[in-house]
Symmetry: C2
Subunit: 414 residues, 2 copies
């Protein structure tokens, strides 16, 4: 800190108290590098590795891959996409077994899910895909591509960049022409938490199907896909689930859509009796029919460690800590950043807040590089936002203090 | 061995001599588990891990992922799909830089490449995809799916199950109705090595485009895609390139097809200026426009070790050893297996032989499980084939001796 005065001491004191009272504080020690002064504020983009991941993957290479060799597929790996999918469904998604599977990248999973959703819509008058202007780029781009190839129209909801998509906006946009609505539960930029149950109901009232992107919500907020009767959902596992850079995505397919599920990339792993290698594609029954190619095993080994911790701690405890972390970050923003001309681009309402906050300032593009040099690591989102992502299992309150103090200090430079 | 006699001694002696004279013998020590008696005959399905992979990946998790965190993307990882693609192009594929990229699974890469190839065919009279009855299941299934969605017809070449597809068969099948021809350079079952340059020329003579599946050839035979003027190629990296179970695939796109390349899965990683996250999809220039989602980094770390070794040893040395390995396996087959009623399902001609041989016998389905229990690991391919896959960097001649001797002994049981 460049200066010390009463407010700062009180804010630091508050962080120390919050850490002391944090029932999840012990989980931080499970992660690599949390014993340093580095302030990691980007667990919403790439989660830290668990220490266990180093030993799990070393053992996997030596003993499973290296020792069991091709036998490993039959003995364990072929079952992992569904086994870890079910664990993810239970621990994180509120999904009964048999509806969740690990596969591909988020982009490819979304492509396959949206195509499957469109195939499930039988009414030829439904020629529109509803999406919003602030959805994550991959979602927007791939829907443009699908609309072009399928001859469909995109209907854009104008999202509030400092918030997100409201139930009313969805009610207005979705109607008798709507085939599918694709939205993110948490907006990647603002951190706005959409009202998933109410929006899902609104989409269904319009006779359409919904595909939710859970990239920023899986592992940070409580989700109950079955209770909300969601049709399809996708998400990534390298953020709050710590699967590592480029770890595979997940797909949720409501069991009512599994019979007759039609996804476009017909591969051997999604075929009935894959190793018979017989003539003619027939999808495997259940969620396995969603698979295409050979599943990526490394990322699944890594994410399993985090799923075990989440099952132990419970998502309600993670959500509770996440809200305390973002509340504390808002406190620092109000004390230090707002007076320096920073704009908050995140809703204050706890009901609508995900696990990251975004703050805007014209100097933030350049400043992010300087922060990274100082081992203070948020990320930058164009045109001028710094995202402060707070991962409930690995982020401490004093870590947030150190990070936001560094932003404050850069803003205070003459 | 259950019995010892002169022939066996001579065959063992031959293996010992071949190992002693093998200029690549030292590479075997680079792999995990090669100091045991296990006989691994399935490097054509899942390559062994390099010892270096254990330390490379541990260091990656601790220092890169764990230490650099999200900074790693900007510092190194974003460039890996093209950097490792170029190394693969140079060391293995005969591809000049800028045409090869690591991405997705083989199935998804093939889907995107075939769709891109079809988009590049401008003549509406070309409504057929040519493929063969013995291509790998994923290739057949995904072409069925693409034909259905695009309203195209499949024209099947009847492949000889103990060989593969000849140039003449392709000349006969491809004509003015052909859009795209999709074939494997090495047949997954018989190990037949197709005449890639002549078939590519035949496809071009018919005015069509070719997509080669190199899964069983990349890292086992010399390939020169640029010289043969191949249009598109795909392959996997977990066989002879040792990327680990489910490591990402590669795509080769001839540079003449890069301008205007149209692949169907529009994701953020394939967009121009990905991190601007701007409105509207515009593909990145060059081979990067082929990317869709976030690249899987673990598998790329693993395959890099093998690419370094191949660059050092040279593919011609690997091919030379591969031919000696399969010749020695044929010698054992002739001495022990043929007399026991086993049928060879692989061409003997060195020009048409890949790096695995397949032998058929009605008892092989059950026997494979017994072999695995004895740490003798070929794989089984329906209806009655054992594949003996020989990986030039990691397989020794005495390992082949031990493995085939175990098959002989099971066949000799009363």
């Amino acid at each position: 800190m460049s200066t010390v005065h009463g407010t700062q001491d009180a804010l630091l004191q508050h962080a120390v108290e919050l850490d002391a009272a944090d029932p999840l504080a012990g989980y931080r020690d499970h992660f690599v590098g949390t014993d340093t002064d580095l302030s990691y504020l980007d667990g919403n983009s790439l989660g830290r590795p668990l220490k266990r991941t180093v030993t799990d993957i070393s053992a996997f290479i030596q003993e499973n891959w290296g020792g069991r060799l091709i036998r490993g597929w039959d003995e364990e790996w072929l079952a992992l996409p569904e086994a870890i999918g079910d664990q993810l469904g239970r621990a994180v998604l509120g999904a009964a077994p048999g509806q969740t599977i690990i596969a591909d990248s988020t982009t490819v999973v979304l492509y396959k899910l949206v195509r499957a959703a469109l195939a499930a819509v039988k009414d030829p008058a439904r020629t529109e895909i509803v999406l919003d202007t602030d959805n994550f780029p991959t979602d927007r781009y791939l829907l443009e591509g699908i609309a072009r190839e399928e001859g469909l129209t995109l209907r854009w909801i104008e999202a509030d960049p400092a918030a997100g998509v409201s139930v009313e906006q969805v009610r207005e946009a979705a109607g008798p022409s709507t085939a599918v609505v694709v939205l993110s539960q948490i907006a990647y930029r603002s951190g706005y938490l959409a009202d998933l149950p109410a929006i899902t109901a609104a989409v269904h009232d319009a006779g359409a199907l919904v595909v939710w992107d859970l990239c920023h919500s899986a592992g940070s907020v409580e989700i109950d896909l079955d209770a909300a009767d969601v049709d399809f959902a996708a998400g990534c596992t390298y953020k709050y689930l710590n699967g590592g850079p480029g770890s595979p995505a997940f797909a949720y397919i409501n069991s009512r859509h599994l019979p007759g599920l039609s996804q476009p990339i017909w591969g051997w792993m999604g075929r009935k009796d894959a190793f018979e290698m017989a003539a003619g594609y027939e999808p495997a029954p259940g969620v396995r029919g969603f698979l295409s190619g050979t599943p990526a095993i490394f990322g699944m080994i890594a994410m399993r460690g985090t799923l075990d911790l989440i099952e132990e701690a419970g998502m309600s405890a993670l959500r509770e800590k996440s809200l305390k972390l973002t509340a504390y970050a808002l406190e620092l923003h109000d004390a230090w950043l707002a007076p320096a001309g920073v704009q908050l681009a995140t809703p204050r309402d706890a009901e609508r807040r995900g696990s990251h906050i975004t703050v805007d300032h014209p100097d933030f593009r350049e400043m992010t590089a300087e922060l990274w040099d100082q081992d203070v690591i948020p990320d930058f989102r164009a045109p001028q936002g710094i995202r402060i992502g707070l991962s409930p299992l690995s982020t401490s309150f004093t870590e947030v203090y150190r990070g936001v103090a560094a932003i404050r200090d850069l803003l205070a430079r003459p």
